[in-house]
Symmetry: C2
DNA sequence: CCTAAACTGTCACCCCATGACACAAATATC
DNA sequence: GATATTTGTGTCATGGGGTGACAGTTTAGG
C-alpha cells in the first residue's frame, strides 16, 4: 500500500464517478466513501478536487520546454513548437481509455476546461525564453512574437486533442497535431 | 436607483477592492459591507464573484460573430477574423482606467485568467459556422481548420491585450492586434 | 389609496478547502 | 525485543463561495 498506489486508486474511483455522474454532481464525500477513506484524507492525496482530473502542469511543462530547447538551432520555430509536443503523444497512447475518460470529463465541465487552459499560461511562460531566443529583433519584439507563436501552437494542441476525443481516439494525436500545425501557414 | 446602477456601483467598489487587496483576499462580505448591502444580495446582481471581473461572453460573442458574418465573401479568412475584433477596441477605449484595472486584476489571478480563456471556447463555438462557411473542403476538414484559425486568432487577441496592459494602455489595442495578426503568417 | 410586483435581509444549508489535534501504525534506533 | 520517531488517519472546527426559502419592505401601477 504505497502512497502512489493509494493515490491511483482514489483517482480511478473518482474518474469513474465523474464520468458517469458528472464532476460537479460528485462530491468529495462520494469519492471518500467509495474508496473507504475519510473526506479529509482525500485532500492529503490531492490538493483539490480538480487535481484528480488535471495534473500539475509544471512537470510536463519542463519536459516540453526542454524538448523545445534541444531542437537544432536552425529548425524553423513553428517546427520546434510542433516537436515540443512530441512527448505528449506517449501519454495519450499509454492508456487510451483513461485519456479519453479524462478528456470527456474535462470537456463537459466548465470549471475544468478553464483550469485546463491555465496549463497554457504556465507552459507559455516556460516556453517563452526558449522560443524568443530563436527569433531575431529587439527583446520586446521577440517576446511578443514568441507569445503569439506559442499560444497559437497551444491552440493547435487543444483543438487537436478535442478532435481526438470527438473521434474516440480512432485517429492518432500525432496525426491530428500534424494536420493542425499545417493550417496557420496556409 | 435602477437595477443597472446598483450593479455598476457594486462592480466599481468590488473592482477597487480587488485591485488593491487582491481578488482571492477580498471576500463577498467585504464587498457587501463596502456597498452597504447584505452578502446575499450580492448574488442577486452577480451570479458569482468572478462575474464582477468577467462579463458574460455571449453578448459580445454575438457581436463578434455578426461582424465576421458581415465581411465581404472574398475577404481572406484571417482578415475576417482580424476585423471581427474591431468592435472590441471601442470597449477598451471607452474607459481605459477601468479596462486596465480589470486586466490587472485578471492577470494577477490564475482562476480569473483561466475563466477568461474560457471565453475563447464560447466565441470559437459561435464563430465556427461563420468561418467554416468561408473555407473549402469536406465538412469535417472545414470545421477542423475553422477551429484552428479561430483559436489562433483568439490567441493573438489575448497576447495583444496582455501587451496592452503591460504598456499601461500607452499603445492602442488596434495597433497591437494588427501586429499580432501579422506574426503567424511569416 | 390599495394591490401586486420587485427587492431585501435573515436564516439555514451544502460543498470545497484548511488547520489543529489526538491516536494508531509503521519504521527506525539502540 | 523494547523504545522512540516518523507517517498516516479520523475527527472536529472554521471559513469562504453559492443557493433555496421565507417574511418583511419598498416601489410601481391602477
Amino acid at each position: 500500500m504505497t502512497r502512489a498506489s493509494v493515490r491511483d486508486q482514489i483517482a480511478d474511483r473518482a474518474l469513474l464517478l465523474f464520468d458517469q455522474n458528472g464532476f460537479d454532481e460528485t462530491t468529495i464525500d462520494d469519492i471518500a466513501l467509495a474508496v473507504g477513506i475519510s473526506s479529509r484524507s482525500f485532500f492529503r492525496y490531492f490538493p483539490a478536487k480538480e487535481d484528480v482530473v488535471l495534473n500539475d502542469p509544471t512537470p510536463f511543462g519542463e519536459i516540453v520546454r526542454d524538448t523545445a530547447a534541444a531542437r537544432p538551432a536552425n529548425e524553423p520555430v513553428w517546427a520546434v513548437l510542433r516537436r515540443a509536443f512530441d512527448p505528449l503523444h506517449a501519454t495519450t497512447v499509454v492508456d487510451v481509455t483513461r485519456g479519453l475518460r479524462i478528456m470527456r470529463i474535462m470537456m463537459s465541465t466548465a470549471s475544468l476546461r478553464a483550469r485546463n487552459l491555465e496549463k497554457h499560461i504556465t507552459w507559455a511562460a516556460m516556453l517563452e525564453p526558449v522560443i524568443a531566443a530563436r527569433l531575431s529583433g529587439s527583446d520586446e519584439s521577440r517576446r511578443f512574437r514568441a507569445q503569439i507563436l506559442i499560444h497559437s501552437a497551444l491552440a493547435c494542441l487543444d483543438v487537436a486533442l478535442a478532435e481526438w476525443t470527438r473521434r474516440d481516439g480512432s485517429t492518432d494525436v500525432a496525426t491530428l497535431l500534424d494536420e493542425a500545425f499545417e493550417i496557420p501557414n496556409s
